[in-house]
C-alpha cells in the first residue's frame, strides 16, 4: 500500500472564496442544484448549506456576531469527507460499494451502490448524500482518479491560501503541529487539531485546525462507530426471542388435552341448551 494520504485543513487562513467547491465540482463533473437557478439560504452568505451528493466540498461560514453587531468574527472552514481510518459508512454498507483505497482513503463506487442510504445514517459527520443524477450515495473521493495519476486533489490545488493542504498523513501531522505551535506563540491559544490523533475513529485522514468548539463548525464533539451498538442490541433481541418463545410454548403446550375439554364443554352446552 502507498503511504496514507489526506488533507489538513487550516481553517484560520480560509477566506471563504469557495474555489475548492468550484474546483471539486468541475473536476468531478458534479452538476449544479435546482437546474442552476440561484437559491439563497436567506440567513447566511453561504448558499451551499451542507455537504451532500452534489457538494463534496463545502465552505462553512460561521458568522459569530453580538446582538448589536458591534463585535463579531467569521469562522470559515472548508468541510469535506473525513476519510476516517475506522469508517462507519464502510462498516455498514451492505453492497461492498464503499471501499478503502491503497491511499487509505474511503471511496464509494457509484456503479456498485444501490442507494439503500445506510451509510448516510451511519456517517458520524453527515457527509454523504444521494446524488440525484446517479441516484447513488456519493461524497468526496479525495480525487481517487487524480491520486492514481500522481496528481494532487482538485480542491487543494485550487486553494489560494493553502488552507487546504494535501500530502502524506505523517507530513501533514508535522505541519499541523507546527502551525498550532505558531498560533499559540502568537497569542491564539484556542487553536487545536480536530481528528489528527488516533483517538477519533482511529484518526481522520482529513483533519482540521479549529479555534472554537467542534459544534460551532457543525462537527460532532465525540463521533463514534455505529457498530458500538451491534453486540448489546443483538443480545437484548436474542433474550427477547427466548422469552417470547417460552411464552409461546407455555401458551400452546398440552393444547391437545385442553382443546378436547373445551370441545366437550361445547357439546355439553349445546345439549343442555
Amino acid at each position: 500500500m502507498a503511504e496514507p494520504l489526506g488533507f489538513f485543513t487550516d481553517t484560520t487562513v480560509c477566506i471563504g472564496c469557495k474555489a475548492c467547491e468550484v474546483a471539486c465540482k468541475e473536476w468531478n463533473q458534479l452538476p449544479s442544484s435546482h437546474g442552476g437557478a440561484p437559491t439563497l439560504s436567506g440567513d447566511s452568505y453561504d448558499n451551499t448549506r451542507q455537504l451532500d451528493g452534489l457538494h463534496w466540498r463545502h465552505v462553512k461560514f460561521v458568522e459569530q456576531f453580538s446582538p448589536d453587531r458591534a463585535d463579531g468574527r467569521w469562522l470559515l472552514m472548508s468541510d469535506v469527507c473525513k476519510h476516517c481510518v475506522r469508517a462507519g459508512c464502510m462498516e455498514v454498507c451492505p453492497t461492498g460499494a464503499i471501499m478503502r483505497t491503497e491511499f487509505d482513503t474511503v471511496v464509494i463506487q457509484s456503479d456498485v451502490c444501490n442507494g439503500c442510504r445506510d451509510c448516510i445514517a451511519a456517517c458520524p459527520f453527515g457527509v454523504i448524500g444521494i446524488n440525484p443524477v446517479s441516484n447513488t450515495a456519493q461524497k468526496c473521493t479525495l480525487c481517487y482518479d487524480r491520486l492514481r495519476a500522481g496528481m494532487e486533489p482538485a480542491c487543494s490545488k485550487a486553494c489560494p491560501t493553502d488552507s487546504i493542504n494535501f500530502g502524506t498523513i505523517a507530513d501533514l501531522k508535522k505541519m499541523a503541529a507546527a502551525r498550532v505551535g505558531q498560533l499559540h506563540e502568537r497569542g491564539e491559544q484556542r487553536a487545536y487539531l480536530y481528528g489528527a490523533d488516533e483517538k477519533m475513529l482511529g484518526g481522520l485522514n482529513s483533519f482540521f485546525l479549529l479555534v472554537d468548539k467542534p459544534e460551532v463548525y457543525g462537527l460532532p464533539p465525540d463521533p463514534k462507530m455505529p457498530s458500538r451498538n451491534l453486540t448489546p442490541s443483538s443480545l437484548w433481541s436474542t433474550l427477547g426471542a427466548v422469552v417470547i418463545g417460552l411464552m409461546g410454548i407455555f401458551s400452546f403446550r398440552n393444547r391437545g388435552a385442553t382443546a378436547r375439554r373445551l370441545e366437550e364443554d361445547d357439546v355439553e352446552r349445546r345439549r343442555t341448551a
Binding site: A121, C123, G126, N135, E215, P220, G240, F252, E263
Partner: protein, 307 residues
C-alpha cells in the same frame, strides 16, 4: 443555531427512510411473527389448532413477499437490489456479518424460501393443492420439522433485526439505545398474534385456539409495556426529544391504545361485550404496533443541525 452542547448524533444526516421502510418494519414483523406462531402451534399445539397454524403460514409468505418489494422499491436504484446478495464485480456472495442490513437481506431471502415451502404445505393441508408429497414440508415429517426450526429462527431474526439495524447507525434516538431490536421483536409477536386473532375469532370451532393466542398476546403485551418503559429509560436525557407531538403519539397511540386498552379489554371482555372485545383489542394492538414504528422512524428523521 447554537449547537454547542448537543450530542454527537445531532451532527448526522437523516437517511430519508420513511413510509416504505415503516411499512416494511410493520409487515416484515408480521411475516416473522405469524410464521413463528404457526411453527409454535405446529410443534406444541393440538390437532384442533391446525387451522390456526395454516392461517399463520398463509399470512407469512405473502407478507414476506410484500416486505421484499417494499425494500426494493425504497432503494434509489431498485435495479441493483441484487447487489445486497451478490458482489456485482466478482459474482461472489456479498455478506457482511457485522452489517445488520447485509445479514438482514440474506435472512429475508432464506426466510422467504422457508415461508414459501410452509405456505405450499399449508395449501396442501387445507385441500387447496392436491399434491400429497407437499405434506413433507410440514411436521411431523422430518423435513417439515427442519423447515419449521430453521424458518422459525429466521422468523425471529427478521422480526427483530430491523431495530438492531436502526441502532447500528449514528442517528439520534436510534443509536442512543440498544433496546430497539428487543422492542420491535416483542411488537412483532404481539401484532402477529393480534392479526391471527382478528382473522380467526369469528369461527367458533377455532375458539379454543384463539383463546390460547389471546393468553399469549396478553403476556406479550405486558412484556411490551416493560420493554417500552425500558427503552425510554435507556434514552436517558435524549428522551427529551420526545417532548413533542411524537411523544404524545407514543403515549396515546402506542402505550394507551396499543397496549393498555387491549390488556384491559382482555382482562374485562364485558366492557365492549364478548363479541367485540377480542377484535377491538386486536385492531388496537395492530394500530399500536404500526405507530411504534412510525414514532421511532419519523421522530429521528426530523432531528439534526446540518443543512
Amino acid at each position: 443555531m447554537n449547537a454547542v452542547g448537543l450530542p454527537s448524533t445531532f451532527f448526522t444526516d437523516p437517511p430519508e427512510w420513511r413510509w416504505l421502510i415503516i411499512g416494511y418494519f410493520f409487515i416484515g414483523g408480521l411475516a416473522g411473527g405469524c410464521y413463528f406462531l404457526a411453527v409454535l402451534i405446529d410443534f406444541f399445539g393440538g390437532a384442533v389448532d391446525r387451522p390456526l397454524a395454516r392461517l399463520g403460514y398463509f399470512v407469512a409468505f405473502p407478507a414476506v413477499v410484500v416486505s421484499g418489494l417494499l425494500l426494493i422499491v425504497d432503494l434509489r436504484r431498485p435495479d441493483r437490489f441484487w447487489h445486497m446478495l451478490i458482489q456485482s464485480d466478482t459474482g461472489h456472495p456479498m455478506l457482511k456479518p457485522y452489517s445488520p442490513m447485509s445479514l438482514g437481506s440474506w435472512a429475508l431471502l432464506l426466510f422467504g424460501g422457508f415461508a414459501f415451502l410452509s405456505f405450499l404445505a399449508a395449501l396442501e393441508d387445507a385441500g387447496v393443492l392436491r399434491w400429497p408429497r407437499l405434506a413433507m414440508f410440514r411436521p411431523p415429517h422430518i423435513v417439515g420439522r427442519v423447515i419449521g426450526i430453521l424458518g422459525g429462527i429466521l422468523a425471529f431474526f427478521v422480526a427483530g433485526y430491523t431495530g438492531v439495524l436502526l441502532a447500528v447507525t449514528n442517528r439520534p434516538i436510534w443509536s442512543d439505545t440498544t433496546l430497539l431490536g428487543l422492542n420491535f421483536l416483542i411488537s412483532a409477536a404481539s401484532t402477529s398474534a393480534a392479526l391471527l386473532i382478528l382473522l380467526g375469532h369469528r369461527r367458533w370451532y377455532w375458539r379454543s385456539s384463539v383463546a390460547a393466542l389471546e393468553r399469549f398476546d396478553a403476556m406479550v403485551l405486558v412484556l411490551e409495556l416493560i420493554a417500552l418503559v425500558a427503552l425510554i429509560a435507556s434514552l436517558g436525557s435524549m428522551a427529551r426529544v420526545w417532548l413533542n407531538a411524537w411523544g404524545a403519539l407514543l403515549v396515546v397511540g402506542v402505550f394507551l391504545l396499543g397496549i393498555v386498552i387491549p390488556l384491559v379489554l382482555q382482562w374485562r371482555p364485558n366492557l365492549l361485550g364478548e363479541r367485540w372485545s377480542a377484535p377491538a383489542a386486536a385492531v388496537l394492538v395492530l394500530v399500536g404496533g404500526f405507530l411504534l414504528r412510525v414514532v421511532v422512524v419519523l421522530s429521528s428523521e426530523s432531528l439534526g443541525v446540518l443543512g
